[in-house]
Symmetry: C2
């Protein structure tokens, strides 16, 4: 688990004092920052880079890739003689996952793709800090960093993946566009549904999942909170939702969404929504609730993404989804293969 966390409006201003004791002589801090903040002078001033520290702006338009991680690591190694004092990710799930992966790959040989899976990382990562600027993915708390690699979309799941420090400042989520707010919030909601309805559930995950689920309902269904309360609660929903799946597993929506994302580059949050919209069979009560939330917030879920796919593309999508065995086992138990056939997945994908 993440050993240190600060929470609260304005807590981002503690960043410099949190980093100071971690600074090693001549070794820079590298700030990986979502490029939506590129012209946000106020935020950049608050990052307050010192000495040879470096801010790298990164687009979150595409899902993070192993090749992208390898490239960033290569650039850091080329530019600096000393290993960085730390990597600080400031952004949404994409940036946070990149920060986690880069901090791992600065101390482990080869390509990030070599470490996609469970517990393959051998050496402790470089000190890394996560600062979410959008809530829902749980990337700030999870022990994974989900990457699209040459042959799969899969996380680097390891004891060394979690951030050493997280800063939860709800004010940083001010200004997130409404669609994105909804999709990413639903990522959290769907985590909880998958965790709570999974066969891997235990009292630990259940208690976190239930709390995140309740917070999502407070925010997206009850709709009576002030904007300020809502931001704080959604940040905590993301945290608890991430904790819930850290000790259980996701399910049908994530398995299928990974396929969609791998083949079409669909972003994770909206991908989950596209898939979940068609999963009445697996999560009946919660798909109804989801459709109500979509309607009440006036959100458009993209449709007909798969109508014109080639057979090849559709097969790759199905391969990726089927490869995520732990997700299917969690969702449907040991006999999942009798329920989820290639034909079944094809029928489902073609509706999307």
């Amino acid at each position: 688990m993440v050993p240190k966390v600060v929470f609260g409006q304005g807590s981002f201003d503690q960043l410099s004092s949190i980093l100071a004791p971690q600074r090693k002589d001549k070794a820079p801090f590298i700030f990986l920052v979502d490029d939506v903040f590129k012209s946000n002078k106020e935020l950049i001033d608050r990052i307050n880079p010192r000495f040879n520290d470096k801010i790298v702006f990164i687009s979150a338009d595409e899902e993070p890739k192993t090749s992208q991680v390898d490239q960033i690591v290569k650039e850091i190694k080329t530019e600096f003689t000393y290993k960085p004092s730390g990597i600080i990710g400031i952004g949404g799930g994409t940036i946070l996952d990149l920060a986690k992966a880069v901090s791992i790959m600065l101390t482990n040989k080869g390509s990030a793709a070599d470490y996609q899976g469970w517990d393959l990382v051998k050496s402790k990562a470089i000190y890394h800090v996560g600062v979410p600027t959008i809530s829902g993915t749980g990337a700030e708390v999870s022990r994974t960093t989900v990457l699209s690699g040459p042959v799969r979309k899969l996380g680097i799941n390891s004891d060394f993946t979690p951030f050493d420090q997280v800063i939860l400042d709800p004010d940083l989520t001010i200004g997130v566009p409404k669609n994105q707010w909804f999709y990413t919030g639903m990522d959290c909601f769907i985590h909880c549904v998958e965790s709570l309805n999974g066969t891997f559930l235990n009292a630990f995950s259940q208690s976190y999942g239930e709390k995140a689920y309740d917070l999502c309902k407070e925010i997206f269904v009850d709709n009576v909170l002030s904007d300020e309360e809502s931001r704080g609660k959604l940040m905590m929903a993301s945290w608890h939702g991430g904790m819930s799946i850290a000790y259980s597993q996701v399910g049908v929506a994530h398995a299928m969404s990974y396929g969609l994302s791998y083949v079409l580059g669909t972003k994770h949050g909206v991908g989950n929504c596209i898939v979940f919209d068609h999963l009445e069979e697996f999560y009946p009560k919660d798909v109804i609730l989801f459709k109500e939330m979509v309607k009440s917030h006036g959100i458009e879920i993209p449709k007909h993404l798969c109508a014109n796919l080639t057979d090849n593309q559709l097969n790759t999508m199905i391969d990726i989804a089927l490869s995520l065995v732990p997700l299917w086992e969690n969702a449907l138990g040991d006999n999942w293969e009798t329920i989820i056939t290639r034909d079944k997945l094809k029928t489902l994908y073609l509706k999307m």
Copy 2:
């Protein structure tokens, strides 16, 4: 926060494999174990001490003391040439607090009493593991270790206090006597009430506090769970309750209970119950709920403890309670001194 945790029935069997990578040549693991397990051969076999490891049985009949910590540290230093590889506490709040304090005092000079307060600890503690065998205190997750010292009852609150590893095995709580189960469960319930009704509350603490509160109601009010479910959920309630106060603060019940405990040696759980029973004025709704739980579980809350106190004892009790300024500030705000006078406390104590 605690960086590593395992949860689940039977997870205690992972202890040896968790400790193995932490073992340093010639440096023993010291197991501080509640002496109720002294004749429990099965549990002792599962601890599986190796080489020069040592099991120390400790009575939890009295609240932990700074002098007791100093004595255990002295004995370890006398017996072993090398600093231990780790300290493992197996027991309730008393044993867990002792394990945390001993691990700190093995690397910091002087007496444990020198470190009662906030952030006074300078050196990182020895690796320490917590294994709760009763649920409710939150000691397994908190950044404090509450000790009675020569002049006060106060925690050693520091970044080095939390366990490096916690093992949450609900089966270890099988066999806890009913009264103790109730009193310790109520410690958690009262943490939540104090946190949720405090002025220090934020969305972080609130979400943890609400979940722990809801779990307590499920366990102690709704009364529909199996024993197995109830044990798992109470262990999680304790965890979330501890997290809630880690980022906020306790209140009136704890301040007054510390006074009771300091002067009369009243154990923390029952002390909280004795006090909370008379706090309608501060927590009206929850004191009613508490009285219902007491009644429905057929619990006797001890009465008339303070009737025969000397003036001197009563004054000490009031001094101890009043010294806990952050607790009063949290409970009643900046003007707490206009509400809580010595006379007010005297009247309340004399009811108990």
